[in-house]
């Protein structure tokens, strides 16, 4: 797979004025996003997620290092013709939604009837077909975010960089955006997104990176990260939770984790106690658990599973 977006040991420091105090927003950040994947970017506020996206788009210059987007160095303007970007706080001119989408499309070199047709199509995709002729200045934050998404998608980009694309959307609109992103991946598009909605990242992303204080602290396939290393979750009924260490019970169903080597022995114990095995699967953690684990640690651990 070809790398579409590469951060090659990039660092960004901000200096306070007039004291000159340095704040490292991003420190030796290395990640490679491959073609056709949805890459999730997680981290607490101030972790450096937005800074990384701004560096890729050329809004900000790195203090050290660099990177490549679609094979060109960050900040190469013509390359952005193949990129769609949505910023965290969508800020657009106070114009009709349809005009805005056409305006941003035209800035990317589109024009004529193709642009008009594409703008109408995109507004329909983001559910704004009935509001296309309303002034975006009077839109709610959620609607503005949809227009922002439409302007990012109008040029049919190969790479989408989305900073919190669903933060202001209602559940229905979130499902719509999720489907939109999944269908974009089906057509070979690459998506690099940051989000605080961890359940959504779990559902959408092929790979996930977690940033903390400007450093990469986790990187790997979502499925691998969610799997609790070396644990099997056993669900049983007809036994007491107190018979198994760390077990929880809900509606008579007992859940607990054991080491893979102890599975057979545990099954026999459940049966001996007169119980019944409901299921036995590799144990999964939620992304939230992983997120809290890596971000609550005092010192950032070294990156694991670097791909």
């Amino acid at each position: 797979m070809a790398a579409i977006l590469e951060f090659l040991g990039i660092s960004k420091e901000y200096r306070s004025f007039p004291k000159g105090r340095r704040l490292a927003a991003l420190d030796d950040f290395r990640v490679s996003v491959e073609q056709g994947e949805i890459f999730g970017f997680l981290g607490p506020n101030g972790a450096g997620k937005t800074t990384a996206m701004h560096l890729a788009m050329g809004f900000t210059r790195p203090t050290r290092g660099g990177g490549r987007m679609l094979g060109r160095p960050f900040g190469h303007a013509p390359t952005r013709r193949r990129v769609g970007f949505l910023s965290e706080n969508v800020a657009l001119y106070h114009r009709r939604a349809e005009f805005l989408v056409r305006f941003y499309g035209a800035l990317n070199g589109m024009g004529g009837s193709h642009l008009a047709k594409r703008a109408a199509e995109i507004l329909r995709l983001v559910g704004l077909q009935d509001d296309a002729n309303r002034n975006a200045g009077k839109f709610s934050r959620g609607m503005l975010q949809r227009v922002g998404l439409a302007q990012a998608l109008v040029n049919d980009p190969d790479l989408l960089i989305l900073d919190e694309p669903t933060s202001a959307l209602d559940p229905l609109a979130r499902v719509m955006v999720r489907e939109l992103l999944l269908s974009a991946r089906e057509t070979g598009k690459t998506i690099f997104l940051s989000s605080h909605l961890l359940s959504e990242v779990e559902l959408l992303c092929d790979r996930v990176a977690v940033l903390h204080r400007g450093k990469l602290v986790r990187l790997g396939k979502t499925a691998d990260l969610l799997q609790a290393a070396g644990q099997t979750e056993i669900v049983a009924r007809g036994v007491a939770a107190g018979d198994f260490s760390g077990a929880s019970v809900q509606d008579g169903i007992v859940r607990f984790c054991v080491a893979p080597t102890a599975v057979r022995e545990t099954f026999e114990r459940v049966w001996t106690l007169g119980g019944e095995i409901v299921s036995s699967n590799p144990a999964h953690r939620s992304l939230e658990q992983i997120f809290l684990e890596v971000t609550s640690a005092g010192d950032s651990p070294p990156p694991q599973g670097l791909a």
Partner: protein, 237 residues
């Protein structure tokens, strides 16, 4: 080129209210032209014409000085520069936008001036040359203000522009020689407008106009160089 034009037209649209306020002055001039006894009040009409013409040069400094700041503060610049637009193109669009904004005003003032001052015997061709001087002065002043605004806030940017374009040539002209007044020709172009009178409408001199165009390009290049290093995503207060 299309992207530059789009940014310029968008800029003019965003500045529609300041332009409207400026156009009210022209409406006042037209109104006075209607009610005044033109042969008797012609000097007052010319004074108002020159005064209004100079206002737009001052406005061009505010236009240029606040353009980037407003876009960064509202964060609208991110959506624009996320497209295939280089920063040089973006600045070109703003320079063109400032020039177009001032040109709309100068066109209206030129039409009104031709009617009112023409009736009083002022050469109409000179009215339009004066408008050209004002447009050239606005273009240069707006570009210099834009250049300063890439690294200064609008207030300091506008102050620095006024000092460089109006203060320095005036001082240099007095201390050194009168030729120095034309080095940065906003001052000399403004003086062409201010010195015109019914007895001496002035002559057509293309040198300061041409110099203003050349210096506009030079300051645009300088502004683009500086702006290339600016972190546009850093929040402004």
């Amino acid at each position: 080129m299309k992207a530059i034009l789009l940014i310029a037209i968008n800029y003019v649209r965003e500045q529609r209210w300041p332009i409207f306020v400026l156009l009210l002055w022209i409406l006042l001039l037209a109104f006075l032209g209607l009610i005044a006894n033109i042969p008797r009040d012609r000097d007052e009409l010319l004074y108002l014409f020159k005064e209004v013409a100079i206002y737009v040069v001052v406005f061009s400094i505010f236009f240029g000085g606040s353009a980037i700041h407003n876009e960064r503060k509202t964060r609208r610049i991110l959506a624009v520069l996320s497209k295939a637009i280089s920063r040089q193109q973006y600045l070109s669009g703003l320079v063109l936008g400032v020039t177009l904004s001032c040109s709309v005003f100068c066109l209206s003032l030129g039409i009104t001036g031709s009617w009112t001052l023409g009736q009083a015997g002022f050469p109409i061709s000179q009215v339009w040359f004066l408008m050209l001087c004002v447009i050239a002065a606005c273009m240069l002043a707006g570009t210099v203000a834009l250049m300063f605004s890439t690294f200064l806030n609008p207030f300091f940017g506008a102050s620095a522009t006024a000092i460089v374009l109006l203060g320095l040539p005036a001082v240099a002209g007095r201390v050194l020689s009168s030729g120095w007044e034309s080095v940065l020709p906003v001052y000399s172009l403004a003086m062409i407008v201010l010195k015109s009178s019914f007895s001496d409408p002035g002559s057509v001199s293309w040198f300061p106009v041409g110099l203003a165009v050349v210096e506009t390009i030079a300051f645009w290049v300088l502004a683009a160089r500086i702006f290339a290093y600016v972190d546009i995503a850093v929040a402004l207060e």
